[in-house]
């Protein structure tokens, strides 16, 4: 039996959805401009959410210290987002509105997101574009000089703004430059190549962090009046994902173990258009932007085991399965549906390429219709990237694609103010759980990261300071000393094991188990097996891992070991959450809960809630806290993209 704790309240405003955020802002308490400099905020992570938050909080006058594990804040993985950012500008005059973006996002999230948060996100989307243009983000433009848009999965309007195939890079550089300006002015103290290894809690409030300087190895503590985590998702729990090598769950998992609830960890997004695996050496997977589905047609041969080269397969022997099954959305069906459909085609033996784990994404018709120059203009860098990795020319032969883990909708639980249940701990961007429900629509991650950092936290953190009386603490406080000693002891323990297996070998073993049993399709037996096997892997890790070198210098094996140790704990919670959620919704697909033709069956009667888990100690089952989800404006319905 799962221990169930007290229900959670997201503290969302009530009343008309259109005015909730306005009314919330009107009611928030303010901090006098002269007093802002008395408050210090720690921001961990410098992707879109962290960089935008750090820059904006510093502009307001707060003291800010920012931390990232990369060598520069410009390198966070937001940079790899290719396709675009949604905004309800209706520049195309195609009937878009805040309401429609809100509606699409709630529906796309398969009715597992909070309506209030999503509406706020849709409202902020318009400010984001204005902000980024003012910063000098070079968005794509039409010949008349106005901003261009493209369409994206899960929407029937064109609301996606883009900068060639490098939208994430350009938005991140915009936020990075805003942050750099504040660093140059001395308003932000930046700590690159510094990894957060624990949160420090004093009298029930998050008051600081423990970090390790990755160059010198020195462990130190930092105190503040609030801690903001913007540390991204946990995709690499599957080892192979489209995430950067450094992406990890350590910051959020450490916060979880200090009391922050982890919500919906089973909601993981598998992106349909990635380059297939080429061998055991594979270190990561590369995503090809979903925008390719605007012009590319997805197909597999109609017959099993058809090994003819694609140009030898006549039109009537091809199955354009998305166009066939989802005629109104076709190749632009949402990510979860597109991914699962590819898996089914391959499971049926109709997959293409080495190992049969691939489907075609074919541009032949688009090239014929629009010309190669237009396709090159739209997707040139993506085609180049594909060619570099596979050695095949996608202008001449169809791309081969296969789904891969890409984004994690779950994360630390936060209320409407983006504060976790642990007071003083705010969580932004992919690291929180709040806005995408069980499935995120394309071009919405950039929107959420920037909305949280530029337009939400600057208001809500002030309210926290103004309404909470706190004593100043310094790093001399015993809780800081204790947390630092624990972190140091753990590092020594990892270095002292001196076993026979490498860190990566454990990470790969865990990742394979998670992908096979907790990936695109899950079932009870597989999840129970996973829950039995993870503790055994973890036990062996702590007995037999080999971490060479010293803790007092740059030691990449040690960095990885700490992250893998945390994945080995977190994976168990992910699987337990997937086992408890007896329904299929969005990125969580349980094979027991599907219709005869393979569509997901949601169970709104029993599972229309956020599942937020409380850590209750080693070897003890996590306690489930439920936050009921109420759909007052978008009525619960079965998603249909047919």
């Amino acid at each position: 039996m799962i221990p169930v704790g007290s229900p959670l309240d997201g503290k969302c405003p009530s009343g008309p959805i259109e005015t909730r955020w306005e009314r919330c802002k009107a009611e928030l308490k303010l901090v006098n401009p002269a007093n802002k400099r008395k408050y210090k905020v720690i921001v961990v992570g410098t992707g879109l959410a962290g960089a935008s938050a750090a820059a904006t909080l510093a502009e307001l006058g707060y003291q800010v210290e920012a931390f990232c594990f990369q060598d520069s804040p410009r390198r966070a993985h937001s940079i790899a987002a290719q396709g675009g950012i949604n905004a309800a500008k209706n520049y195309q005059n195609d009937g878009d509105s805040v309401w429609r973006l809100f509606y699409d996002t709630v529906k796309g999230g398969d009715f597992r997101a909070r309506e209030s948060n999503v509406h706020r996100l849709a409202e902020c989307s318009r400010n984001i574009i204005d902000q980024c243009v003012a910063q000098g983000v070079p968005f794509a433009r039409e010949y008349g000089g106005l901003l261009d848009n493209r369409s994206f999965g899960g929407a029937q309007v064109s609301r996606t703004f883009y900068a060639r195939g490098q939208t994430g890079q350009q938005l991140l550089i915009g936020a990075y430059q805003a942050l750099a300006r504040m660093i140059g002015l001395g308003k932000v103290k930046m700590h690159p190549r510094t990894e957060m290894l624990d949160v420090v809690v004093v009298n029930g409030v998050a008051r600081g962090i423990v970090v390790r300087d990755l160059i010198s190895g020195k462990v130190s503590t930092h105190a503040a009046d609030a801690v903001v985590l913007a540390t991204g998702g946990y995709g690499p729990v599957f080892f192979l994902s489209t995430n950067a090598k450094g992406c990890n769950v350590t910051a959020t998992w450490r916060a979880h173990k200090k009391g922050a609830y982890f919500a919906n960890p089973c909601y993981t997004q598998i992106h349909p258009t990635c380059i297939p695996v080429s061998g055991d050496h594979q270190s990561k997977l590369t995503l090809m932007s979903e925008s390719l589905r605007n012009d590319g047609r997805i197909w597999v041969p109609k017959t099993k085991g058809d090994t003819r080269s694609p140009d030898q397969i006549p039109e009537d022997e091809r199955d354009y399965y998305l166009e066939r099954r989802y005629p109104s959305y076709g190749n632009l069906a949402p990510r979860d549906i597109a991914s699962r459909s590819a898996k089914y085609a391959c499971d049926e033996g109709r997959g293409v390429g080495p190992g049969g784990l691939g489907v075609y994404l074919d541009f032949a018709e688009a090239i014929q219709r629009l010309g190669e120059a237009t396709i090159r203009e739209r997707y040139g860098n993506l085609f180049d990237m594909y060619e570099r990795i596979t050695g095949e020319n996608p202008y001449a032969v169809p791309m081969r694609i296969y789904p891969a883990v890409h984004y994690t909708m779950g994360g630390l639980w936060v209320d409407y103010h983006l504060m976790s249940n642990l007071p003083g701990l705010f969580v932004l961007g992919e690291a929180n759980f709040s806005d995408h429900g069980a499935n995120r629509l394309g071009a919405s991650a950039l929107m959420q990261g920037l909305a949280d950092g530029y337009f939400v936290i600057p208001y809500t953190i002030g309210h926290f300071f103004a309404s909470t009386k706190q004593e100043k603490v310094s790093t001399d406080h015993p809780e800081f000393k204790k947390a630092e000693a624990e972190v140091t002891a753990r590092i020594h323990r990892l270095l002292a094991i001196n076993g026979k297996r490498t860190v990566d070998s454990f990470h790969k073993e865990l990742g394979k188990l998670m992908w096979d049993k907790v990936g695109m399709a899950r079932d009870r037996a597989g999840l129970q097996e996973t829950l039995r096997r993870i503790p055994a892997i973890r036990e062996e890790f702590w007995k037999n891992v080999f971490v060479p070198g010293s803790g007092a210098a740059l030691n990449q094996a040690l960095e990885k070991a700490g992250r893998v140790a945390d994945f080995l704990e977190f994976a168990e919670l992910l699987a337990a959450d997937a086992l408890h959620r007896e329904e299929s919704c969005g990125g969580h697909f349980r094979t027991e809960y599907q219709t005869e033709d393979g569509e997901a069956v949601r169970n709104d009667r029993d599972f229309c809630y956020v599942g937020a888990w409380e850590w209750s100690g080693d070897g003890k089952p996590a306690v489930l806290h439920k936050e009921a989800l109420n759909y007052e404006f978008v009525h619960l319905a079965t998603r249909s993209y047919k």
Partner: protein
């Protein structure tokens, strides 16, 4: 998009098989900033032509650790050519032999079976080696902090379509903004100049109306910081453009010089004590 016609002339032969291959590696090992460092040979390293260059190093590192040795430290993160973290000099060329390609996107099919491969860190006084193949590129961040931005605060910005930007200008801004800040331009330059990097940022912002207000002070502040960091000067070797994984054109250096020169003529406008252009 001129100068960005990504032809396929550099593609390796597609008839190349997936057969395993072996390479003889010579890798720079340096235990820390104070160590003088040396090349160490790793002969007969097995790999597959479908591996990326960094995956080949991952596999070597696994073998080293299985023998109880310390792995080779090198930087990488996104491994899809956009974060700018990877930074290896391969056979004397930053990012290796393939044009317009970061070393994380370079694949072993670009090498021959039995080839000798020399792997070194970026070499520049302003990028000190931290360990093995890892260098400190903090100087680049400090140059951006000096003026590589538009000074707008969050909120209160005009509508995104308030100022039309001609597509040609927006495209030129994007060509320059594609810079990933990897530092290959510095590593390739005989003078260890950072002008392609600095020029790219200046060019990005000077082609947009939003960048006009601070155009002169930006050039002045960034170039001053670049000089302070110990980067060299440009003497038109054009090695930077040749190795740039984003194929940024040296025309950005001309644009930087133009803005810097015109700023110098009105230098008295600058406050002597300005720590940045903000």
């Amino acid at each position: 998009m001129s100068g960005h016609d990504h032809g396929h002339g550099h593609a390796p032969s597609h008839s190349a098989s997936h057969a395993p291959m072996r390479v003889n590696l010579h890798i720079w090992r340096q235990s820390g900033p104070c160590d003088s460092g040396r090349m160490v040979a790793y002969p007969n390293v097995a790999c597959s032509p479908d591996m990326s260059f960094l995956e080949m190093l991952d596999v070597l590192n696994e073998r080293l650790q299985e023998r109880g040795e310390e792995p080779i430290a090198f930087d990488s993160d996104c491994r899809e050519g956009i974060c700018g973290m990877c930074s290896l000099t391969v056979n004397g060329t930053p990012h290796g032999p393939r044009k317009g390609t970061t070393v994380c996107q370079l694949h072993m099919r670009s090498f021959n079976d039995g080839e000798e491969i020399f792997i070194e860190p970026w070499r520049a006084a302003a990028f000190p080696v931290q360990k093995d193949l890892v260098v400190d590129r903090g100087a680049f961040d400090r140059i951006i902090q000096a003026g590589g931005f538009v000074s707008v605060r969050t909120g209160g910005c005009p509508d995104g379509n308030a100022i039309p930007v001609p597509k040609e200008e927006a495209d030129q801004a994007m060509d320059a903004a594609a810079c990933i800040g990897c530092g290959a331009c510095v590593a390739a330059c005989p003078n260890a100049a950072a002008m392609l990097f600095v020029g790219a940022k200046i060019s990005h912002l000077r082609h947009l109306p939003q960048g006009q207000a601070e155009r002169k002070r930006r050039a002045q502040a960034m170039v001053d910081q670049m000089d302070q960091e110990g980067f060299g000067n440009c003497s038109n070797y054009l090695e930077c453009e040749a190795v740039c994984p984003k194929e940024i054109s040296v025309k950005v250096i001309a644009e930087m010089n133009r803005d810097y020169l015109s700023a110098s003529l009105t230098r008295e406008e600058r406050k002597a004590d300005a720590g940045g252009a903000g």
